[in-house]
């Protein structure tokens, strides 16, 4: 007989009920979606990022209702680590890399059951040292760079503060080099292509140390970059380095060639061993800082992720010297190398780990 005519409480209970349903539905859908087809996922190098994103955009614009690939720029090292964490829907399909995969990384991949991977070289990039157009016009050798930037050149802490301390023929301006952090593949390339040969040239013990079982002394002398001031870690944002050079004409910047090309009206490349970084010198390898750019692909994902094979095929059509990626700053690999890479994609050839180190 006594009917409840309360309004407020019923209203609140209603809202909670609906919220609960929404939450349950969302979680169920989340579980559902992830185990069925999903979008292509790419992680890795910030140098390869502009090219992979261009391909991703073209991929979607071709139509057919394709899901947009998700491309993250976290650095080559971090990218390969995430790539090798395992195989499955929650792991990336492709890793962008601005250097070759290391043996230890490959072993990590195998330990986590990733299986066979494809190594596809998409082109070439150059690690460029740049200065502002009104800068001191330095001309450096690899040894100069090594002696200026190493933490322990020739086994002793680095005491050089000006370029003249490093090489008497250089002007007496303070050493100021702005570059990327240690997670960056660009920095790895600087170390591998410029610092290490410079160490070999300057230090008679370098080769012996390199061949030794314990890599630590070699790393300390030849590969570590100083952190006492002259080398300034500017973070992953290369635009900050560009701005920094405009503000400080005596400084040098380290970044990939594409940033140099984009800002060629304000900056110019510093010649290393007499070779200035240009498209031609990087393409034919005469510039010492030339390095290959790679994609690493999990073969096991080729079947599971729809469109992954098409994506790679699209990449092969865009990396020619007259292709779209060149317009974005990619330096095309030599013809023979390109053909070989295209063949790897077409035949899904797996990487042979024998050549890695």
């Amino acid at each position: 007989m006594l009917r409840r005519t309360t309004r407020g409480i019923a209203g609140v209970r209603d809202i909670f009920g609906r919220l609960g349903l929404i939450a349950a539905a969302a979680f169920t859908l989340a579980g559902c979606d992830s185990n069925t087809a999903r979008e292509i996922r790419v992680v890795g190098s910030s140098t390869v990022y502009p090219f992979t994103t261009a391909v991703a955009e073209t991929f979607v614009n071709q139509g057919g209702g394709r899901r947009a690939p998700v491309v993250e720029s976290i650095g080559t090292g971090a990218g390969l680590k995430r790539f090798c964490e395992g195989v499955g829907w929650e792991f990336p399909d492709i890793a962008n890399a601005s250097r070759r995969i290391k043996k230890s990384e490959y072993q990590l991949c195998q330990a986590n059951g990733v299986g066979e991977i494809m190594e596809v070289q998409i082109g070439v990039d150059g690690v460029a040292l740049a200065e502002a157009n009104n800068g001191p016009r330095l001309r450096l050798s690899k040894q100069d760079v090594y002696l200026a930037l190493a933490a322990n050149p020739l086994g002793k802490p680095n005491a050089a503060r000006t370029w003249r301390d490093v090489n008497p023929s250089l002007p007496a301006i303070p050493i100021q080099v702005m570059g990327p952090p240690s997670t960056s593949g660009t920095r790895d390339a600087l170390v591998e292509l410029v610092m290490e040969p410079g160490c070999a040239a300057a230090d008679p013990q370098a080769n012996a140390l390199k061949a030794a079982k314990d890599a630590a002394p070699y790393d300390t002398r030849c590969k570590r970059i100083r952190d006492d001031g002259p080398y300034i870690d500017k973070g992953e944002n290369d635009n900050l380095i560009v701005q920094g050079l405009a503000a400080n004409p005596n400084a040098l910047g380290v970044f990939g060639y594409s940033y140099l090309e984009e800002n060629i009206d304000r900056l110019h490349g510093v010649p290393i061993e007499g070779v200035t970084p240009t498209y031609a010198t990087i393409a034919d390898g005469t510039y010492p800082g030339a390095r290959p750019l790679f994609l690493y692909v999990k073969k096991r994902h080729l079947r599971a992720v729809p469109g992954l094979a098409d994506f790679l095929t699209l990449y092969t059509t865009m990396w020619n010297p007259k292709g779209k990626l060149t317009q974005r700053g990619l330096i095309a690999a030599p013809d023979a190398l390109r053909a070989k890479s295209a063949q790897i994609v077409a035949q899904r050839a797996a990487l042979d780990p024998a050549g890695l180190h």
Binding site: M1, L2, R3, R4, T5, T6
Partner: protein, 255 residues
């Protein structure tokens, strides 16, 4: 004087706030058709004891009540008693008028609505009108029921609170110094209202105004320092009190 049945009875009631004892061993009866007044100096425990009658002390974490209080023979502190329904049966009007910040209509309608006393809107309207009439407020507000309850004058607000308490059709109404915050005219109106309500509800009123107690009540209880000193017919208490302390209080020696 004939003995009318007692609506509420308290036996050996003590109230503790933590370790401090505010009410000591009080036994008293509230008669069905009479107004019972609790008088005494400030801090003597009369308000505290009043609040035990509808278990409002439950809201204070450190409060502890011992003893028995019966409503129609049922112990209100037993676990079988639903506090919410108890408070509908034993209503309360507070010292400072505290209407809800809602419309006048909503203020009065809230109680019947939450207790499910009005199955339809016309029933609810009827209850509201009846309650406001009994509280003597209907003529003044019948044209502005949607106005906010807090926009009324002090006296009107208190009558609104009384209407609100009446709307749930209680059996007992407890009033804690209902007119102490009001001016003399409003006070007179409240006292008149108590007269009119007397037959329908058992009323217990706490007051520090002895003339008011003398005017409105038929039974008076005098509290002092937490104990019930004397309890009897109002006439007798105010003319020939038995206890010395009662006499001292009434003649103004203290308090």
């Amino acid at each position: 004087m004939t003995e009318t049945p007692h609506k509420m009875s308290a036996r050996g009631v003590s109230v503790f706030y933590g370790d401090k004892q505010a009410v000591k061993d009080v036994s008293i009866d509230i008669a069905m058709d009479k107004v019972t007044a609790f008088i005494g100096p400030s801090g003597c425990g009369k308000s505290t004891f009043l609040r035990t009658l509808n278990r409002m002390n439950d809201t204070i974490p450190s409060a502890r009540v011992t003893g028995d209080i019966m409503l129609d023979g049922e112990n209100i502190y037993s676990s079988a008693m639903d506090v919410v329904q108890l408070r509908a049966r034993v209503g309360m009007v507070f010292q400072k008028p505290n209407p809800f910040p809602k419309s006048i209509y909503e203020n009065v309608a809230y109680g019947p609505r939450i207790h499910g006393l009005a199955p339809s809107k016309p029933d609810l309207d009827a209850i509201v009108e009846r309650s406001l009439k009994r509280a003597g407020l209907w003529e003044e507000v019948k044209d502005r029921l949607q106005d906010s309850g807090t926009a009324l004058s002090g006296g009107q607000q208190q009558r609104l609170c009384i209407a609100r308490a009446i709307a749930v059709d209680p059996e007992v109404i407890l009033m804690d110094e209902p007119a102490s915050a009001l001016d003399p005219i409003a006070t007179a109106k409240i006292e008149e209202l108590i007269h009119e309500l007397r037959g329908r509800y058992a009323i217990a009123i706490v007051t520090h105004n002895m003339q008011q107690a003398a005017r409105v009540s038929q039974r008076t209880a005098f509290f002092h320092l937490g104990t019930l000193v004397e309890y009897g017919d109002t006439d007798q208490i105010f003319t020939t009190p038995r206890e010395e302390r009662t006499k001292d209080y009434i003649t103004g020696r203290y308090g």
